[in-house]
Amino acid sequence: MRHSKLALIILLLGIPVASLFYKMQFLGIQVVPEKASNFWSVELSINKELPREFSVDYQGAPIMPIPSLNKYQRIKDLKLNGESLSVDAPPESKDYVSIELIEGQPADSVLSFQIQPRNAQMAQRDPVENLQRSEKKAYLSLEGYTADELVHLNKLKDTLIFPSDDKKTKFDKFFYYLADEIALKHDSRKISDVTELSSGSFLAQARTLVGLSRLSDIPARVIFGALFLEPKPAKPVRYTRVFLTEVFINGQWSPYLPEKRIDGQLDGDQLIFCRNCESQATMLENDNILNLRIEPVKYDPISSEEQLSRLETMSPFWASLSLHRLPLSVQAIILGIILVPFGTIAISFARVILGVETFGIFMPILLTLFFLETSFLFGFLFFAIVVLLGLGQRYVLDRFYLLAVPRLSILLSFTIIVYLLFAILCLRLDILTETQRSLSYFPIVIITVFIEKLSLSIMEEGPINTVKTAIGTFFVSIICYGLLAVSWLKTFFFNNPEVILFSVGMNMLIGSYTGFRLLELLRFKEVDEDNAINFK
């Protein structure tokens, strides 16, 4: 019996996990489908007042780097100074370079656009085969380096490589030296800092790697972009501006960033703004000159149609079982109740493990549904008022010696009257207008049942015990509310209803617990073995 129960629990917990794993790994189905509008909002602005030291370095008007479209990126709402720029269809260009420089833009220009960093599947580019002569010359040029810098670079190069090494080996040695030995330090901006102090900024490290490559006859360039550290929604925005090195080896350009161990392949976490930008690099590095702001755009759940058509292509079997097939009205009801089994885990936990007393077993989940139906603030306020009124009128009705059923019916009428008054009051005060629309018959039934239980409890158990139980009921329903209000969970359960088995397994597990309830430790605290010894 014990073994069969254990096997059943493992099965109930294992089936949903296995199913999710299978869907994700083998069918490539997202367990929480996201709408394709997972965009990041990016805003670039160049400060009008260029500091003197940069204005000397910089020749001509400030340059606004615009990421050009390529087939691996999607950009929308591209605006320059509030005016839309046309977004062309992805060019079939073989060149991976994604920068178009608009020269002569006014210095206070603001560029904004939205981009999908995660969806940008940066596949391996088509090989370029050979660089044009002029290009090769530009990418091998050491003009941007001072004589002093070249001395440092040459010295470093000689210690790292043998002249007999092939180009790839040479570059790998440079890359791993920087990756292993050089620490990231944002105020170490010189090449000498990298070679002598073993620390450097992203730009100093990129210039070092480009310099070392060019000295070894490897075409290389500095690229500027942003690195999303945690490009997830609902998390604080974390990104950093970076300078990477791109080198041309074996007929193709490959990006490298020693600090983040990016070696040859970019993923969606990198947004490239401009390539071959050494001349503007110091300006791009400075936050006072180039201001960069990146924020995630809200996630939207996917529409049923969209998800169904996705599923059809991935797995017709799962598509045939999908709840997305149901009519939208039925889907809305299912979305309302799909998390109830999950909420029961919280109830079981609160009662069996914590030992919290509640009015009945399912009153907390009913209250949770009440809060969800009405919104928490509306629900809570209405609940408090109705409970007070319900208790008051209960004492009034007691004087008339009415039988139980008619009394409950009167209570229901009172509740509806208060509900209507409360709705009108909210409208008059122009508050909670959103919840106004969500008034439905369901909460009234819940609240009436609750009042009946509450008033009986006051009569039978006295006010103190009733308040204790009421607090317990609130406590559990608020925990359930916290769980059930998570829209992500709702989408997850809706798309993977087999997870309900998990809650059955969890309830079986909790139901098998025979240890003390947490509150029993307080209750039995006084049972003392010393007393027991005296007793014998």
């Binding site: 010696y401 025979t514 003390f516 209750r523 605290k525 049972v527 003392d528 073995e529 027991a532």
Partner: protein, 318 residues
């Protein structure tokens, strides 16, 4: 917290989850619950087996029977009104006197809760019971009129209003723990421990008080009678009480049960109620856990043991 947990485990304190999972659910068969949940079925079992219990004056099943109240109760000067399916003493009203009037509405009753109530108030209360307000599962109920038990003089001066009762927990017919519940002002004359009644642990051997508790905490005297020493006070008729309790263990087909017994000065010990899910506060009143005695009984070779042998074993071992 962990130290409390390990102390309670060492002490063999039985928690609610273990009580349900290891004793009540597997050992008390659901089909026998009505025998103890319905007081008039309990009375029938007790009657059939000649176990002393308060006499039932009558039953009322519907509002239409209210007109028969006068012939039913006219000879009783005092009686107890009970919901047949009530739990934890809920819904019990003790009527101490009744003045019948020709006009029914002028009839006045004297109760322990309110001094005087009108006949209208009385029948309203009965209708509440019938509608299931006090029943275990909220379904419609039956009103029981029972003979009123008078407090024994030895216990009268330690009870506020109501009557003291002795709760004995039986396991496979063996008494394993016992306590006495004394009504207090706070509990409104009722014996419910969670409403503030005083719980006294009793030695199974001789029925003397060991520890006194209220609200799960140890105290030394009844809060309403601070001058009365409770420790070592003896419960009258202990031999009979433990005997009657053990008899209940034989006639009710439940392995784990609680028997509530009251002592009337004239009638002696009477079984008031039998409970299939007796509470756990008895452990606090006795300052010891139930797990030890329960395990001892479970491990015993109980086959062929007589009632007297079971009682003797319990009195000598628990």
């Amino acid at each position: 917290m962990l130290s409390t947990l390990s102390r309670l485990n060492r002490q063999g304190v039985l928690g609610n989850n273990k009580r349900l999972r290891e004793y009540i659910l597997p050992l008390n068969k659901r089909r026998y619950y009505p025998l103890v949940d319905s007081k008039h079925l309990t009375t029938k079992v007790l009657q059939d087996n000649n176990i002393p219990h308060p006499e039932t004056l009558g039953l009322v099943h519907s509002v239409s029977q209210f007109k028969k109240l006068h012939p039913l109760l006219k000879d009783a000067t005092s009686f107890v009104v009970k919901p047949s399916r009530g739990a934890m003493g809920n819904g019990i009203m003790i009527v101490e006197g009744i003045q019948w009037d020709e006009k029914r509405d002028n009839t006045i009753l004297r109760t322990t809760r309110k001094d005087e109530i009108s006949f209208q108030e009385f029948t309203y209360y009965l209708s509440l019971i019938l509608s299931g307000v006090f029943s275990l599962d909220g379904t419609t109920d039956t009103v029981m009129f029972q003979q009123k038990i008078n407090p024994h003089p030895a216990l009268q001066n330690i009870c506020h209003r109501g009557i003291a009762d002795v709760r004995i927990i039986l396991f496979h017919g063996f008494p394993v723990m016992s306590m006495m519940r004394l009504p207090s002002k706070e509990s409104g004359g009722r014996g419910n421990l969670h409403q503030g009644a005083v719980g006294c642990g009793l030695r199974l051997k001789d029925g003397t008080i060991t520890f006194v508790t209220q609200h799960n905490r140890r105290i030394f005297n009844h809060p309403d009678f601070p001058d009365v020493v409770l420790k070592d006070r003896e419960v009258p008729y202990w031999e009979s009480i433990i005997n009657i309790a053990a008899q209940c263990g034989e006639v009710f087909p439940l392995a784990y049960l609680g028997v509530d017994i009251v002592v009337d000065p004239v009638l002696g010990p009477l079984v008031l109620e039998v409970n299939a899910r007796p509470g756990l506060s008895i452990q606090i009143a006795n300052q010891k856990g139930l797990v030890g005695p329960l395990k001892t009984v479970a491990a015993l070779d109980r086959e062929g043991m007589s009632l007297a042998e079971k009682i003797n074993f319990s009195r000598n071992n628990f």
